[in-house]
C-alpha cells in the first residue's frame, strides 16, 4: 500500500473553514451540513426548541432528517441524508459506555427511517470538533473523502480514486494518511463501508478507533438497516474526523462531580462483580450463547429451534481461548466494561484476502447466533471468518445471518432449487455455501446478490417473479421469512414470550432487540401475566432504552453489570441504581434537573416523531406491526412435535383446549389461531398505553401532552384519528 501515492491522487473539490466552536454543557449547538451534489459545506445553529424537545443523538437525527426530506423521498433520493449525532453525554470519559454515535437515514431495507448505534470515536470527536451532528446530503459524482480537522477548523471534500473500499484496509490507510505520527493516530476516526455496501441493502458503516496497545485500527459497526448502502450511493468512500485535546471535561459539564461519582461507582462494580456476573471483560457478549441455548431461545435453523447439542462448540468457553485480551478493550475512553473483544492473527481461508493474517473485531453474540447457530453452523472459525468479511465488505452480520438462515430453510423445503441458487447447496450447516453467498454480495454476483437485497425482497421475488408455488408453499415462504417492516430479526427466538414478540415487532424501525428484551421477565419469571403488564413493559423499556440513543450512551453498562443490591430492589430488571446514575450524569453534563418521568418524556417525543415519520413514508399503521408467524409460534408439524409436551400443555393450561386425540396438523392450526389472537390483544393494550389509537397512530392529544403538536406532525396523523 502506497499511502502517499493514494493521497497524491486526491483532487480537492472544496475547502471550508469554520470557527472552532465551544462545547458547553454537552452541546455545541451547531450542525455541520454537507451537500455532496453541490460540494457545499455550511454550518447551522440548533434551534433551542429542537434542543429542548429532541435532546440530541437519534432525536436530532430524526428531526433533521424529517425536515430535510419529504413524503416522496426514497433511500436513494439525493435529499435523503445520513445524520450522525452523538448526544450531550457522549464524550464524557468517566462513565462506561459514553462514546456512542447514532446514525439515521431513510433505509433501503425498510424504506422508512432507520437508526443504528455504534461505538468508536467519530461522534464524540465530531462534537469536540465543533458539531452536535453531521448532515450528509446529496450525491457526489465520483468517490469522495470528507475530512474534518477539528483543531484547524477545516472541512475538505476530496475525490479519492485509489483507496480500496474494504474497511479493514481503508480505515488503516486513512488513519495512516491523516495522522502525523503513531501518537497522532488516536486522534482520528474513520467512517467507511465496504465493497458489498455498493450493492447490498445490508450495507453498514464501520466507525474506527485506534487501539494503541495492539497498534491497530479497530472497527465498530452501525449495522442495522442498510445505512452503508446509502453512504455508498452518495459516493462517499469515507468520513474522517481528527481531534486532538480530549480531556475529562471536554464537554464543559455543569457539575463534573456528579459525573465522577456515578462513573467511579460503576467502575468499582465492574472491578468487583464482573468476574462473578457476566465476565464481559473476558468474553464480551459471547457469554450469552450458552445462556440462550439453555433457555431454548438461541436461534437454530432459521429460528425453528432454540437450542442445539453442538452449541458448546461456539460458546464463550471456545471464544475466550481465541480472544486476546488487554485491560482496555473499550470502544471509547473509560469504558471499563471492555466488551470489544478481538481475535488477532487470524488466517483467512477464503476470499480475496485468503492466506492473510488479520485482526477481527468480535465475534459478538448476535454474530455467533446469526451467522452460526441460526444457519445450523457450529464452526467457531467459520464464524470469525464470516465476521471479518462482513465487517470489511460492510455487511450487517445480523441481517446476513437471518437472511442466510431463511434461504437455507427454503432450500431444504425444496422451494429454492439449485437452479435458483446458481448451484449452491444451501442445506443448514453448509459453511462453504454460506461463505460464498457473502463473497458473491461483494462481487454483486449470483444468488448472493439477490439475497443481499434483503429477505423481504427475496420473499417477494419468489412469490411474484419466480412463482409456481402451491398455496401451502406460498404461506410457508411468508411464515418463515423472519423480517418485519423489511428488517431482518435479530438473534433471539421470541416464540415463547408474547411480550418479546411485541418487543420485536412493535418497534419503530423493525425487529431489533435494542428497544425491549423482555424474555426472562415474561417467559422465565412470569412477571407480566396480563396484557396490561406486558403493555406497561412495552411502554417503559422501549422509551427508557431509546433515551440512550438521544444522549450518546451504550446500553450494556446499564444491565450487563449490576449493582450488588440490585436483586433486592423492587423491580430488578429496571436496574434502578443505574437509572439514577444516568439521571445524575445527564444533569451533571447539561445542568438541567430532570427526573425519570422527564427522561421518559424526552424519549417519548422522539419515539412518536419516528412513528409519524414512518407514517409519512407510507408505513406506521397497525398492519406493519404484524410479525411473520415463525416469530409467534411453531410453523410446521416438525417444529410443534419437537416441543410437543410444551405446546400440548399450553393448549391445555393456557387456552383450556384438550389436545388429546388431535393430530399435530390440527394442533399447529389451533395454536396458530390462539397465538395470533394473543398478539392482537397485546397490540391493543400496547397502543393504548402508548397513547396511540387502535391503528397504531399517535393521538393528537398524545402529541399535545408531549408538547410536540407541531403543525406538520398533526397534519400527518389527523386523517387517521378516530
Amino acid at each position: 500500500m502506497n499511502v502517499s501515492k493514494m493521497k497524491a491522487a486526491h483532487r480537492n473539490l472544496v475547502n471550508y473553514q469554520y470557527e472552532l466552536g465551544r462545547v458547553w454543557r454537552g452541546y455545541t449547538d451547531r450542525i455541520l451540513h454537507i451537500d455532496l451534489s453541490k460540494n457545499a459545506v455550511s454550518t447551522k445553529k440548533v434551534d433551542p426548541e429542537v434542543k429542548e424537545k429532541f435532546v440530541g443523538g437519534r432525536g436530532y437525527g430524526m428531526w433533521y432528517l424529517f425536515q430535510s426530506t419529504n413524503e416522496n423521498t426514497k433511500w436513494n433520493s439525493p435529499e435523503n441524508e445520513i445524520v450522525i449525532s452523538a448526544g450531550p453525554i457522549a464524550g464524557i470519559t468517566q462513565y462506561p459506555g459514553s462514546g456512542k454515535s447514532y446514525v439515521v437515514t431513510i433505509s433501503p431495507l425498510t424504506h422508512a427511517p432507520i437508526d443504528s448505534n455504534v461505538g468508536g470515536y467519530f461522534g464524540p470527536y465530531l462534537k469536540f470538533a465543533g458539531f452536535d451532528a453531521l448532515e450528509l446530503q446529496g450525491k457526489a459524482e465520483k468517490d469522495v473523502i470528507v475530512y474534518i480537522d477539528g483543531n484547524k477548523g477545516t472541512v475538505s471534500i476530496d475525490e479519492a480514486p485509489e483507496e480500496p473500499l474494504d474497511s479493514h484496509l481503508l480505515a488503516e490507510i486513512l488513519t495512516e494518511m491523516y495522522a502525523m505520527n503513531e501518537e497522532d493516530k488516536k486522534h482520528i476516526s474513520v467512517v467507511s463501508a465496504g465493497t458489498a455496501a455498493d450493492y447490498s441493502n445490508w450495507g453498514m458503516l464501520n466507525f474506527s478507533f485506534y487501539d494503541p496497545r495492539r497498534k491497530m485500527v479497530r472497527l465498530k459497526q452501525a449495522g442495522r438497516g442498510g445505512i452503508g448502502r446509502v453512504f455508498r450511493d452518495k459516493r462517499v468512500k469515507a468520513l474522517i474526523v481528527k481531534y486532538e485535546g480530549l480531556k475529562g471535561d471536554s464537554n464543559n459539564p455543569a457539575d463534573l462531580g456528579l459525573i465522577q461519582d456515578a462513573g467511579v461507582k460503576v467502575h468499582k462494580e465492574v472491578h468487583d462483580y464482573d468476574d462473578v456476573q457476566n465476565q464481559m471483560r473476558a468474553r464480551g457478549t459471547s457469554y450469552l450463547v450458552s445462556i440462550m441455548d439453555h433457555f431454548d431461545i438461541l436461534p437454530v435453523n432459521n429460528f425453528k429451534y432454540g437450542c442445539h447439542p453442538d452449541t458448546h462448540k461456539i460458546d464463550d468457553k471456545v471464544y475466550k481461548k481465541k480472544f486476546t485480551l488487554s485491560e482496555c478493550d473499550g470502544c471509547w475512553f473509560g469504558c471499563t466494561l471492555a466488551c470489544a473483544k478481538v481475535v488477532e492473527g487470524f488466517e483467512l481461508q477464503t476470499g480475496p484476502y485468503q492466506g492473510q493474517k488479520v485482526l477481527v473485531d468480535g465475534p459478538e453474540y448476535e454474530t455467533i447466533a446469526g451467522v452460526g447457530s441460526n444457519c445450523g453452523i457450529f464452526d467457531p472459525d467459520f464464524i470469525i471468518e464470516n465476521n471479518f468479511y462482513c465487517d470489511t465488505y460492510g455487511i450487517d452480520t445480523i441481517s446476513l445471518g437471518t437472511g442466510v438462515a431463511y434461504v437455507m430453510e427454503l432450500y431444504e423445503a425444496g422451494i429454492l432449487t439449485d437452479e435458483l441458487t446458481g448451484g449452491l447447496n444451501l442445506n443448514f450447516g453448509n459453511t462453504d455455501s454460506a461463505m460464498e453467498l457473502l463473497h458473491q454480495m461483494a462481487r454483486n454476483e449470483g444468488f448472493g446478490a439477490i439475497l443481499g437485497q434483503g429477505i423481504r425482497y427475496v420473499k417477494q421475488w419468489l412469490l411474484n417473479e419466480v412463482g409456481g408455488f402451491t398455496a401451502e408453499q406460498q404461506q410457508f415462504i411468508k411464515d418463515v421469512c423472519m423480517e418485519c417492516k423489511g428488517l431482518e430479526y435479530s438473534e433471539y427466538v421470541p416464540k415463547e414470550s408474547l411480550a418479546q414478540q411485541g418487543g420485536y415487532s412493535l418497534t419503530n424501525k423493525g425487529p431489533q432487540h435494542d428497544e425491549a428484551w423482555l424474555i426472562f421477565d415474561d417467559m422465565i419469571h412470569n412477571l407480566m401475566p396480563t396484557f396490561e403488564d406486558k403493555a406497561e413493559a412495552l411502554y417503559y423499556f422501549p422509551l427508557f432504552r431509546t433515551w440512550f440513543s438521544l444522549v450518546g450512551l451504550c446500553k450494556l453498562p446499564w444491565n450487563d453489570i449490576k449493582p450488588a443490591d440490585n436483586a433486592e430492589t423492587e423491580k430488578p430488571s429496571l436496574i434502578i441504581g443505574h437509572v439514577h446514575n444516568y439521571i445524575d450524569v445527564f444533569n451533571g453534563v447539561t445542568g438541567q434537573n430532570i427526573d425519570l418521568d422527564q427522561l421518559i418524556k424526552q424519549s417519548a417525543r422522539v419515539y412518536n416523531l419516528q412513528r409519524i415519520f414512518n407514517l409519512r413514508c407510507g408505513f406506521g399503521t397497525r398492519e406493519h406491526d404484524l410479525p411473520p408467524y415463525r416469530a409467534l409460534g411453531p410453523v410446521t408439524v416438525e417444529e410443534y412435535e419437537s416441543r410437543q409436551e410444551r405446546y400440548d400443555s399450553q393448549l391445555q393450561d393456557k387456552y383450556g383446549v384438550d389436545p388429546t386425540g388431535k393430530s399435530s396438523v390440527e394442533k399447529v392450526a389451533l395454536m396458530r389461531k390462539l397465538r395470533a389472537e394473543g398478539y392482537e390483544g397485546l397490540c391493543d393494550a400496547v397502543y393504548k398505553r402508548r397513547g396511540w389509537n387502535m391503528n397504531a397512530i399517535p393521538k393528537i392529544s398524545t402529541l399535545q401532552e408531549l408538547n410536540i403538536a407541531y403543525q406538520d406532525l398533526v397534519q400527518l396523523i389527523k386523517p387517521y384519528q378516530e
Binding site: G248, D249, G263, V264, H267, C328
Partner: protein, 126 residues
C-alpha cells in the same frame, strides 16, 4: 523500589499525614485532597496509601500511568483523560479523585507525610 510502608497499629488518627499531603500537592489543608487516608474512630485506625503495585497502569486507556525508575507509579496529567478507571480498579482503594479536579491523584512516595507522622507509623522504603 520506593514506596510507603504503613503500620496502622501505631496510628493515632491525628490526620497530620493527610494535612501534610494535601498542603504539599493542593496547597490546602483538606483530607479529601490527600493521597494518604486515615479511617476509623477511637483506637483502631486504618491507613490507606498506594502500594505502587502498578495495576492501574494496565487499565489506563491512554498510557498516562507509568512506573518511574524508582518504581513509583505516576500519572501524567497532560495525557490523562480523567476517566477514573484507575480509581475504580485500584485493589487497595488508594487512587483518589476530587470534584475540583479532572485528573485523579495518588501517593508518589515523596515522604513528606513520613516526617510529619508523630508516631512513626509511616516509613519510606527505597
Amino acid at each position: 523500589m520506593r514506596k510507603l510502608i504503613v503500620d496502622s497499629s501505631k496510628c493515632t488518627g491525628c490526620g497530620q499525614c493527610e494535612i501534610t499531603c494535601s498542603k504539599a500537592f493542593f496547597k490546602e489543608e483538606n483530607p479529601q485532597k490527600s493521597a494518604i487516608r486515615v479511617a476509623g474512630e477511637s483506637g483502631e485506625h486504618d491507613i490507606t496509601v498506594c502500594t505502587q503495585c502498578g495495576k492501574c497502569i494496565d487499565v489506563c486507556p491512554v498510557y498516562a500511568i507509568t512506573q518511574d525508575k524508582n518504581g513509583v507509579v505516576r500519572i501524567n496529567k497532560k495525557e490523562c483523560v480523567g476517566c477514573l478507571s484507575c480509581v475504580g480498579f485500584c485493589d487497595y482503594l488508594a487512587m483518589y479523585y476530587h470534584h475540583d479536579y479532572v485528573v485523579p491523584f495518588k501517593c508518589v512516595a515523596c515522604g513528606l507525610c513520613v516526617r510529619s507522622c508523630p508516631t512513626a507509623a509511616l516509613t519510606l522504603v527505597k
